[in-house]
């Protein structure tokens, strides 16, 4: 037998088995009572810093934040662990928040920021008071940005966010308002109730408080509410509903009752909730319920029914994204589910095509999306050179299979459309397939490809890569430096869709290349802001806050 394990050693061994930062830790708030903003504004509105050292720190925080916020999602990459990524993410968020919370809020509204960063940002902004911090924004202005951030998140992410708010015990009046207005005014209360019942219950109980939630459940289960009960319901729930018809409706009362776990004396009359209960007796009665909900019912009450039946019954309720995601399972089950490629984002189209093969419909939709994105970007070229790294490390991970390559392929399409006259392309590694697809394969020898592109004298060269070069490492840097010493000043950009969390930014191929970290093609604008900040920090910050001005002033369409 092995030696007896001491408690301390057992704990150490247990510790060593932990694989990642828990979601609770990831979204935990850091106490920041004595933080003094490094960035301040003068009366004339100029940007100033507390000291030269503070300016350097802000520069570092901002640039690293941009590198990360457009790419990292807290998942493992081909070469970095989830834990490493998550720790870096938390550190960079706190660092920018400390620099100036107004700047932090403005930064989060920029197009190209991943949803996970918006979630982390909302938690930090809502959960910490302004205090002595001299923010670039007033509390009201910041509130508008927070509202915009919330509106930009899909419901499943919002519900996760509300869960994190509960974990962090953030239950101020602002939190209550955010939760209830979001849940009750989303336009899909009935559908959300059956799809996200448990998460909605957590959010709602957190918002109204345990005892009020319990009282609501009791009165909503009664056949009729008396006047006092009605007033209580209105103040606790109805008050937050904007639509006057919904405010007085049975749908609102039954949905809230269902979410809180009550049961009306006369049973439910709302269609989807009724189907939810009927499906327990007969699966067919659940037609129109969300797939996940129906699958849950099938796995408990109808184990003998095939999974394919759930797909058939729930297809009418599927979103376009869902329809695309279930194609493989639907094909295997012999269920015909059509989806509209034009409703998908370009990266999802490539992920799908890499898995299922390219079709004419997908190709058309991807081309159209690429055109639209290229048109929306603030710059264009006459000629561009594009080097695409399709080596094995671009494959992705179990969590995000094919995603780095899908982003790279989408970027290639967008960048080639930014050229008015010609776009030259070179694929390094990879196995090219029909329909413009490339499958990851082989080593990474980018230097020769960069040189080939430069020889064609484009206005700019874009190298789309994860930054891992091996044949040999450092060769691109040698070539880039040699080109500069020959007087060739063609701008070279490194477009990277993955992050090296340890380095706090993109793994750079060369100092001569401008890093453009992206997680989706539209985010390349964010990368360009990075270049502006690097050149002139005070004016770059002013411009950044200026871009969020329409949102700060309560108008839509800011941050473009």
């Amino acid at each position: 037998m092995p030696k007896r394990t001491t408690t301390k050693k057992k704990a150490a061994a247990r510790e060593s088995k932990k694989s990642a930062v828990s979601p609770k830790e990831m979204f935990a708030l850091v106490k920041r009572e004595d933080v003094r903003s490094a960035v301040v504004t003068t009366k004339s509105g100029e940007i100033q810093f507390q000291s030269e050292k503070a300016m350097q720190k802000v520069r570092e925080s901002l640039l690293s934040f941009i590198d990360m916020a457009g790419t990292a999602s807290g998942q493992s990459t081909y070469y970095d662990s989830k834990e490493g990524q998550q720790k870096t993410i938390m550190r960079l968020h706190d660092s920018l928040l400390d620099a100036n919370r107004g700047l932090y809020a403005a930064m989060l509204t920029f197009p190209g920021i991943n949803d996970v960063h918006k979630q982390l940002g909302i938690i930090r902004l809502v959960g910490s008071g302004i205090g002595r911090d001299s923010s670039l924004l007033t509390e009201e202005q910041e509130g508008r940005l927070v509202s915009h951030l919330i509106e930009s998140l899909p419901i499943q992410r919002l519900l996760k966010l509300f869960g994190h708010m509960k974990d962090n015990r953030i239950n101020n009046s602002r939190t209550k308002r955010i939760i209830l207005t979001t849940v009750l005014n989303g336009g899909s209360l009935e559908f959300w109730s059956v799809k996200y019942r448990r998460k909605l219950r957590t959010a709602m109980v957190h918002a109204v408080g345990r005892s009020r939630a319990s009282a609501l459940r009791t009165i909503l289960s009664k056949p009729v509410m008396d006047e006092r009960e009605q007033m209580f319901f209105d103040s606790a729930v109805g008050h937050f509903v904007r639509d006057p018809i919904l405010r007085k409706s049975t749908v609102l009362r039954e949905c809230v009752c269902f979410i809180l776990g009550g049961k009306p004396a006369a049973g439910y009359t709302v269609d989807l909730i009724r189907r939810y209960y009927d499906a327990r007796a007969a699966l067919d009665s659940g037609q129109g319920l969300p797939r996940e909900t129906l699958e849950g019912i099938r796995s408990i009450y109808h184990k003998k029914e095939p999974k394919g039946k759930v797909l058939e019954l729930s297809k009418v309720a599927m979103s376009e994204g869902d329809k695309m995601r279930v194609q493989k399972a639907a094909k295997e089950a012999g269920v015909d589910i059509k989806f509209d490629p034009s409703k998908q984002d370009i990266v999802s189209l490539y992920v799908y095509a890499l898995e299922q093969g390219m079709t004419a419909d997908i190709r058309r939709a991807a081309d159209k999306k690429a055109e639209e994105i290229a048109r929306s970007l603030p710059l264009s070229y006459n000629r561009v050179g594009i080097v695409l790294d399709a080596s094995m490390s671009m494959f992705g991970t179990k969590e995000a299979k094919r995603r780095p390559l899908a982003i790279a392929l989408a970027m290639r399409e967008v960048l080639s459309r930014m050229a008015r006259d010609a776009a030259y392309e070179k694929v390094v590694g990879g196995a090219e397939a029909s329909g413009g697809l490339v499958y990851p394969q082989g080593d990474t020898s980018l230097a020769e490809a960069v040189l080939e592109m430069v020889e064609r004298q484009p206005d700019a060269v874009f190298v789309i890569t994860d930054g891992y070069e091996n044949a040999p490492a450092g060769r691109v840097n040698e070539v880039a430096k040699a080109l500069r010493s020959l007087g060739i000043l063609t701008p070279m950009y490194q477009v990277t869709s993955v992050i090296d969390a340890g380095a706090g930014g993109v793994r750079s191929l060369s100092d001569e290349m401008i890093p453009l970290p992206v997680s989706r093609p539209a985010g390349i604008g964010l990368a360009m802001v990075r270049a502006a900040l690097e050149a002139d920090l005070p004016n770059g910050i002013k411009a950044l806050v200026g871009l969020a001005k329409p949102l700060i002033e309560g108008k839509k369409g800011g941050g473009k």
Binding site: P2, K3, Y79, Q441, D443, T444, S445, P472
Partner: protein
């Protein structure tokens, strides 16, 4: 009856050709590519693995092909169970279960048995492999603890807890993971010659393309990656087998310089590798299954194991002996005396 034969490194690599060299830091990998992909064999990445008692590692081969377990394969699991390693190569029949009582515990103070399931395989860090090979026939699950403890001490792992390989792997997780992205498998690859600091430290050959893809992450991350990492910590520089670009006068000249550097690197590396091909080794049969047998091989500077099907080497794993590496390190540092 034990059969002892002679073989060379060239015999082990027959049917392979060298691919383009991959170089990052002090490590270089020469991919071995081949048109021959012997699909009769599978790697243990899909096996169901468990421990029956301390020192007994059990493999369930669920495939319909013979499974070759690489020597020094280890399982560091996310269970409250003692991690284990197999010091020698293994052969498991198709759709069969095989228990090896020669396995070693690699997590000294952790109790518990590994539950059967698909667990991620690792290959022991390079510095442990020679010792594990030397002790491969012993039956004592504790026999690698001291070596693991020494590895932890030498690599500066804080709060060293004796023979805990998991602590080492956890501590250097990020550094080791980077090697997987840095050294990528290529088309038709079945093996690799691994060089660190301009010296050959390992030669790996597998039966087919899928097998190679399955074992490469474990080889490059835990086995050779750990050695490269420790060598770099000691201050190793870019090896002499790497050639920098010469100064160029034009873009066309720069292109030519790229080709010249690649050729010069290949030539320097080939000189070292070719010098090893005729190294003579003794090959001694130790186990057999499904018509193939495992031989242990040892020659000047190398030890390891091969799986042979008659004269054909279908699998081979050779590592440089510590003694050889030390000698080469000394010779590189101390130039020969001359008056």
């Amino acid at each position: 009856m034990k059969v002892t034969e002679k073989m060379t490194v060239a015999d082990m690599l027959r049917g392979c050709a060298a691919g383009r060299i991959q170089s990052v830091g002090c490590m270089q990998v020469i991919p071995l590519v081949s048109d021959i992909s012997d699909d009769r064999f599978v790697a243990p990445d899909e096996a169901e693995v468990s421990t029956k008692d301390y020192g007994t590692l059990v493999f369930r081969n669920t495939s319909d092909k013979t499974m070759i377990v690489p020597p020094q394969t280890a399982y560091v699991v996310n269970q409250m169970a003692q991690d284990h390693a197999l010091p020698h190569a293994g052969l498991v029949k198709a759709k069969a279960l095989k228990a090896y009582k020669t396995a070693m515990c690699i997590q000294q103070t952790q109790g518990g048995l590994i539950l059967s399931g698909k667990h991620q395989m690792v290959i022991l860090p390079f510095v442990l492999r020679e010792q594990a090979h030397r002790l491969r026939k012993d039956v004592d699950f504790r026999r690698l603890w001291d070596a693991i403890g020494q590895l932890n001490t030498d690599s500066g792992v804080p709060t060293v807890s004796g023979g805990h390989l998991d602590v080492f792997l956890k501590h250097f997780e990020k550094e080791l993971n980077a090697f997987v992205a840095e050294f990528e498998p290529v088309d038709r690859q079945v093996g690799a010659i691994v060089m660190i600091g301009g010296r050959v430290v390992g030669i790996e050959r597998t039966p087919n393309y899928a097998y190679w893809k399955a074992v490469w992450p474990a080889l490059i991350r835990e086995c050779y990656g750990s050695l490269a990492m420790m060598t770099e910590k000691k201050g190793a520089k870019i090896p002499e087998t790497r050639v920098p670009l010469r100064k160029a006068t034009s873009v066309a000249d720069l292109k030519a310089a790229l080709g010249e550097a690649a050729e010069a690197e290949r030539s320097k590396t080939a000189g070292i590798v070719n010098g090893l091909l005729q190294v003579s080794m003794t090959s001694e049969s130790e186990d057999s299954e499904s018509g193939v047998h495992i031989d242990s091989v040892a020659g000047e500077g190398f030890v390891g194991q091969v799986v042979k099907d008659g004269p054909a080497v279908v699998y081979g794993s050779l590592i440089a002996k510590q003694e050889k590496l030390k000698k080469e390190e000394w010779e590189a540092k101390a130039k020969p005396f001359a008056m």
